[in-house]
């Protein structure tokens, strides 16, 4: 306050000489460097392998199922996308819903945390932060550039995995995805990137708040285990859901309440969005409606992409808002932090 009041009148106008050099915005340079770092990092390849394995195993079994059912399924309009959204018959993996999309839902947040947890405290630890900030860039260029670079690396990684799965599917099934299916897959990729961006923003928040990279990694991966793995967080949430819904009078009301509680976890929001995009037969994401349509034994209908997308607009908005909120928190904290270690 006093600094503002103190300095303002005392300054004779200094001609701000427009620099003759055309300077690229700092965040683009930083994003470029971060992207290059990520693409060369061991981290990315380890994660790609994990993600690849997570996706390919269910893919193999579903591929078998689809092949064996191919004769009866002729004429089914969206068979390719089956690969991603349906669990294999006859393979039981306990509580895990064994589909490609659910495996990606578990593994993808890892990408976000892994690329975010040491973004700022790593610079501090290396002693490069003061040097970086003394270059002619704004302070927020650092955090913006790091976010953009990491998100681009993640998008590339996910796109590669998706392309591999698609190629594998084409080989196994001998079916080429139709335009509608491709659009659905791209939209699913976009929503997945958005979900990973939430975890990336969260990882970066940790890297700003926690001074030691090892600690922030522990916190980040611990929370990932808790929230994204289907053992602990979702289990607790479903217990909480049944408790809250115990007063429900109808089955539909009960299902709806349990679903609303489950939506406290962003993973559930993502799972619903992902299901709607990958299953054209899903005409509602609301549990109570699904329940009642099941009860009515409706004739299965197929949604077009825009109809499916309309279902999940709230989900996309929620994920986007959470991401922005997380990033804003990291941003605000970073802008106020002392430069020195």
């Amino acid at each position: 306050m006093s600094a503002q009041a103190g300095t303002a009148p005392a300054l004779p106008d200094v001609a701000v000489r427009p620099d003759e050099r055309h300077i690229r915005p700092g965040w683009i340079t930083i994003a470029g460097k971060e992207l290059a770092d990520h693409l060369l990092s061991v981290r990315l390849y380890v994660l790609l392998v994990i993600l690849g394995i997570a996706a390919v195993i269910p893919l193999y079994f579903v591929g078998e199922d689809v092949r064996s059912a191919a004769t009866s399924a002729s004429g089914y309009p969206a068979i390719f996308i089956y690969l991603f959204a349906y669990p294999p018959q006859g393979v039981n993996f306990g509580p895990l819903s064994f589909t490609v999309s659910s495996f990606v839902a578990i593994a993808a947040p890892l990408l976000g945390v892994a690329f975010g947890f040491d973004a700022v405290n790593g610079e501090r630890h290396q002693g490069t932060l003061p040097r970086l900030l003394s270059q002619p860039i704004h302070r927020d260029d650092v955090i913006n550039g790091k976010f953009a670079g990491a998100l681009l690396a993640i998008t590339l990684a996910l796109a590669v995995v998706l392309a591999v799965i698609t190629g594998f599917g084409m080989l196994r099934l001998g079916i080429v995805p139709r335009l509608d299916e491709i659009i659905r897959l791209v939209a699913w990729l976009a929503v997945t990137v958005l979900y990973v961006a939430l975890w990336l923003a969260f990882g970066m928040l940790l890297s700003v708040v926690i001074r030691r990279a090892a600690t922030s990694a522990l916190v980040g991966f611990g929370l990932w285990l808790f929230i994204a793995m289907p053992f602990i967080g979702p289990l607790l949430v479903s217990l909480l859901g049944t408790f809250v819904a115990s007063g429900a009078t109808t089955q539909a009301e009960y299902a709806s309440t349990v679903q609303w509680v489950a939506r406290l976890l962003p993973g559930q929001v993502y799972a619903e969005a992902s299901a709607a995009l990958l299953r054209p037969t899903l005409t509602s994401v609301s549990a109570s409606e699904i329940y009642s349509t099941q009860a009515q034994q409706q004739i299965p209908t197929l949604f077009s992409f825009d109809q499916s997308f309309a279902l999940i607009i709230p989900h996309v908005v929620i994920l986007f808002a959470l991401t922005v909120g997380c990033f804003a928190l990291a941003y605000a904290r970073f802008m106020r932090q002392e430069v020195r270690a």
Partner: protein, 362 residues
């Protein structure tokens, strides 16, 4: 009617008076012909702790200015404010003609900065690290490569530029840090503890390099250090910094004058004086005009310390020579002891009654 507005008017007057005070406090005049770094009443408070207290600093073009003080004296805080990386609580700074708070980019475009404990991205070579800095400064292509080669050569790092920085020694990192600060072709260089954690030979090399830079490029250099003796030789002027205050400023002889002892010291050594002869020799020395005190050597064979009035030292030295010759004392050495910056610093801090607590913001 006339009486009624009195309370309101009083309030208005108070407001005006208050405004006037703020105005007055705010109007800090900066000199017209200011050098590249000027601060007036620059202050930084962290809660109750005053890290920098009403600092007035002037650094001229083409000089090396040493900001000397213990850890926790406020040197780094001052530097961060000069770069616009910390916001002053009060006061003004003007660096290369810009206010670092209002136009940090303009300042950072023209000021090279070597942070305390500089670090680089390991996994990249020295040259790649500098290339990143060049890009952040809007330089690319052949111009940038030429500039990088040039600064690497200047700091003597060409040979190791293409090896990974995690193989570098502390001294090499420091030199790469100076190269990094020079990439943007700055007109001011700010170096925070450039000689810390470097071996003595490395220190000499770095200080020589700084001298050359000033000579060849006319840079202004502000360096901070707590190793006073090391930087004493290289600084044109020094500012003594303690508890956030600049308690002395000037050339080293100026400061010796200001904070030195009352009397000058001359050390004289004689050959062949044993413990018994020391007292009689001391008697002889005491009889010389201008000598105020003679201290016996701690061990036989070491020189006597002669204290003399400060402006009479040359006369005392001549008298010492003459006395030694006439008394048949074999003189082995005679030299005037110039107070070291460490002495000056200790005296200055003591004189101002500023005990610096370690652990305050450095």
């Amino acid at each position: 009617m006339t009486a009624s507005p009195t309370p309101a008017r009083a309030a208005t007057e108070r407001r005006v008076a208050k405004k006037g005070r703020i105005r007055q406090r705010a109007r800090i005049e900066l000199p017209e012909d200011a050098g590249p770094i000027v601060t007036r009443r620059l202050s930084k408070r962290y809660g109750d702790l005053v890290a920098v207290d009403n600092l007035d600093l002037d650094v001229k073009a083409g000089e090396i200015f040493g900001l000397l003080g213990q850890n926790g004296a406020g040197k780094t805080t001052t530097i961060l404010m000069l770069l616009g990386l910390a916001e002053p609580s009060a006061g003004v700074a003007r660096v290369v003609g810009f206010d670092p708070t209002r136009a940090p980019l303009e300042v950072k475009r023209r000021v090279g900065y070597l942070p305390d404990n500089v670090g680089f991205y390991d996994g990249m070579t020295g040259r790649e690290n500098l290339r990143y800095t060049a890009r952040l400064n809007g330089m690319s292509g052949d111009d940038a490569e030429a500039k990088i080669a040039d600064v690497l050569d200047q700091v003597g790092m060409t040979g190791r530029a293409d090896t990974n920085v995690d193989t570098y020694s502390r001294g090499m990192l420091q030199r790469l840090g100076i190269a990094d600060a020079l990439v943007k072709d700055p007109s001011v260089l700010i170096l925070d503890e450039p000689t810390t954690a470097i071996d003595p030979i490395g220190v000499v090399e770095i200080l020589d390099m700084l001298r050359t830079l000033v000579r060849e490029r006319g840079l202004a250099i502000l360096l901070s250090s707590h190793l006073l003796a090391q930087v004493q030789s290289v600084c044109d002027r020094v500012g003594i910094f303690a508890a956030g205050k600049l308690i002395g400023i000037g050339t080293v002889p100026d400061l010796a004058e200001q904070f030195g002892e009352e009397s000058a010291r001359v050390e004289v050594g004689f050959e062949g004086i044993d413990a018994g002869g020391a007292e009689s020799t001391a008697q002889v020395l005491r009889s010389i005009k201008g000598v105020t005190e003679v201290r016996l050597p701690a061990r036989p064979g070491e020189p006597f310390t002669v204290l003399a009035e400060r402006d009479g030292t040359s006369a005392v030295r001549e008298a010492l020579l003459a006395t030694a010759a006439s008394r048949g004392l074999r003189l082995s050495s005679i030299r005037e002891v110039v107070p070291s910056l460490d002495d000056i610093y200790r005296r200055a801090v003591h004189a101002r009654g500023l005990a610096v607590e370690s652990g305050a913001a450095a």
